[in-house]
């Protein structure tokens, strides 16, 4: 099963990852998920972890500030911290494989031409730093794989992959094309990692390795040269030769007179590939299906080890129909495109390599042996992480100017919402002006981002006890203990009011499972998991002990 982690919402990719079950842990919760050893990441069911990081979100507000040596080093420190979490994950989950993406340059930034014309720090340096961290990660861990998102974006173009609407509507940035390409790349990468690549490339000759037909155009009539289109065939042959260098077996399956072909290999000095480069050669007038079966038996390999290349669609169709295990990619109708086609549709798909050598694959975690690295010696706990975030909580009391945002929160929050009561702006206004109700809005900021108003508590005070009418939090800040700080600070505002008890209700819906244990975690008691209650003073003490940081009350 695949666990999907990201700093953006990539949930829709699940629909494209057909080969495997998958689970998306939530928008921007990846650090909390890594640090929480009870999270799904640490369950044995998960054997693959895909961490997709969006560089603009990693940069956060830095993207809107002029880049400097200082901001670059702040960014690098942030990354070091994130990578130290990733290292922890890789060590703890050494039986799983982690896939993480590299990133392309940010296509446009507010510093415009200075991004490429400034002698000083530019946004490109930020991107380079991130990608270099991946290189380090790769050299330390063999169960980490880098997904080449940069290449995909280069091939397809930013505007064909990103759709900003979905970012604003639901924190998604990518469109379905991007999700499809990412999931294909993920699967190819995993196949390659598991050694599930093809072994043999079987090639046709006429109009495939050279232009024209050997039997008609003859030794010097076929197109294979340094001029014109003949060069495309030479380039194609060079690529095939390089594949052979990295261990792919080559074979020929061609309808021709063997003597004509012999002559070409011997006498045409423009040929890059030599006769001996091909381990098996079936050059005859037999049916190509028959030839291919013979090649398989000569090499003693299953049909699923083969990729067959032929310019003739009829021959391709014949193989596809009769030998469905053989991979038969389409051939470009214009040979000028042979290079990019061969790279993307053949090499990346069928012969992709993750390891340079066999030793590479078998090398164990150099990282662990390298005791000098300090980052891990101080194994970070989730508490350390939360403290390191420099979270600033601001709690606004009865602030009318936020009533629209507050009403919207009650309308839209489905997950961390204890009672799911929906209110309009008028309702909120009424609460603000009432004597019994108090409305608390939560502002959240950490060293990465200012999230704005992301939480709400509405308290009904009947003179003796406090009833939590509403408690909700936007999901993006879950896992950082803000909910406990929020509750504590809210309750503390009633300190002088002679309150005896605090009561609360949790109403289960299809979506708010994430909040189910909140009241008991916060120190309230229940017998039926619906009605919670506790002594006011006890609750304050419990929460004071539990919370790791403070919040600020703003009473305007």
């Amino acid at each position: 099963m695949i666990a999907l982690l990201s700093n953006i919402n990539i949930e829709p990719i699940r629909g494209f990852l057909k080969s495997d079950e998958s689970i998306f842990t939530g928008y921007n919760t990846y650090i909390a998920d890594i640090l929480n050893h009870k999270s799904v990441l640490y369950s044995d069911e998960i054997d693959k972890i895909f961490l997709f990081l969006d560089i603009e979100e990693l940069l956060g507000d830095m993207l809107f500030k002029y880049p400097s040596d200082n901001s670059l080093s702040v960014f690098e420190n942030n990354l070091d911290e994130i990578f130290s979490f990733i290292y922890q994950l890789l060590i703890k989950r050494n039986n799983a494989v982690l896939v993480i993406n590299n990133v392309p340059f940010i296509s446009a930034t507010f510093i415009s031409y200075l991004d490429t014309n400034s002698p000083n720090v530019t946004f490109r340096d930020f991107v380079k730093i991130y990608n270099n961290k991946l290189k380090q990660l790769k050299s330390d861990f063999s169960n980490a794989l880098v997904l080449d998102w940069e290449r995909i974006v280069l091939n397809e173009g930013i505007n064909n992959l990103f759709d900003p609407k979905f970012w604003y509507l639901g924190r998604m940035k990518l469109n379905n094309k991007a999700f499809k390409l990412l999931s294909d790349e993920f699967s190819n990468l995993i196949n390659s990692y598991k050694g599930k690549t093809k072994k043999v490339l079987i090639l046709d000759l006429d109009n495939t390795l050279w232009g024209g037909i050997a039997g008609e155009d003859g030794l010097n009539g076929i197109k294979i040269s340094e001029d014109g289109i003949g060069k495309a065939f030479r380039d194609f042959q060079k690529l095939i030769k390089s594949l052979k260098e990295i261990g792919v077996i080559l074979a020929i399956n061609s309808k021709n007179n063997e003597s004509d072909i012999d002559e070409i290999f011997q006498k045409n000095n423009m040929m890059i590939l030599k006769y001996d480069d091909f381990i098996v050669r079936k050059i005859n007038w037999n049916n190509k299906v028959q030839n291919l079966i013979e090649i398989a038996s000569d090499l003693d390999l299953g049909l699923d080890s083969f990729v067959f290349i032929d310019d003739n669609p009829v021959e391709r169709q014949l193989i596809k129909e009769n030998l469905p295990e053989v991979c038969v990619p389409d051939f470009p109708s214009d040979i000028s495109y042979v290079k990019s086609w061969f790279l993307e549709e053949v090499i990346y798909k069928y012969f992709a390599k993750v390891y340079f050598t066999h030793e590479d694959k078998n090398k164990t975690f150099q990282y662990l042996a390298n005791a000098e690295r300090k980052k891990l010696s101080k194994s970070l706990s989730i508490e350390d992480f939360i403290k390191s975030l420099n979270i600033k909580i601001k709690i606004y009391i009865n602030l009318s100017k936020y009533k629209q945002r507050i009403a919207q929160l009650t309308q839209k929050t489905n997950q961390f919402n204890l009672r799911t009561k929906r209110y309009t702006e008028t309702d909120i206004e009424r609460f603000i002006n009432s004597d019994n109700y108090t409305v608390f809005a939560l502002g959240y900021e950490d060293k990465f981002n200012n999230e704005g108003i992301v939480g709400l508590v509405i308290i009904l005070n009947d003179g003796e006890s406090l009833e939590i009418d509403t408690f909700l939090l936007s999901c993006r800040i879950i896992g950082r203990d803000a909910e406990f700080v929020f509750l504590l600070k809210v309750l503390e505002t009633f300190k002088e009011k002679n309150i005896k008890k605090v009561n609360a209700v949790y109403i289960k819906t299809k979506k708010n499972g994430i909040a189910e244990s909140f009241y008991s975690d916060a120190g309230l008691f229940t017998e039926n998991k619906i009605d919670y209650s506790v002594d006011y003073e006890k609750l304050i003490i419990f929460l004071e002990n539990k919370t790791l940081y403070d919040g600020e009350i703003i009473n305007e």
Partner: protein
């Protein structure tokens, strides 16, 4: 639509809408429009995505786009 919401085709009637189909939540809503944009090669505006909360409205939106 049945794919996006992961429900049987029979369950989606012509009168299906965000308010009468449980599986049609805000995430499924966006996934539906991601899929529509891709399959019909059209582009919806933010307002159109916001307002297209029933099968009938989506049908109308699509009809206007494709024509």
């Amino acid at each position: 639509m049945s794919d996006t919401f992961n429900v049987k085709k029979e369950k989606i009637s012509l009168s299906a809408s965000k308010s009468n189909l449980d599986e049609w939540d805000s995430l499924a809503h966006l996934k539906l429009f991601l899929a529509l944009q891709e399959s019909f090669r059209v582009n919806f505006s933010t307002d159109e995505i916001d307002s297209g909360n029933s099968l009938e409205k989506i049908y109308k939106l699509l009809k206007d786009k494709i024509r």
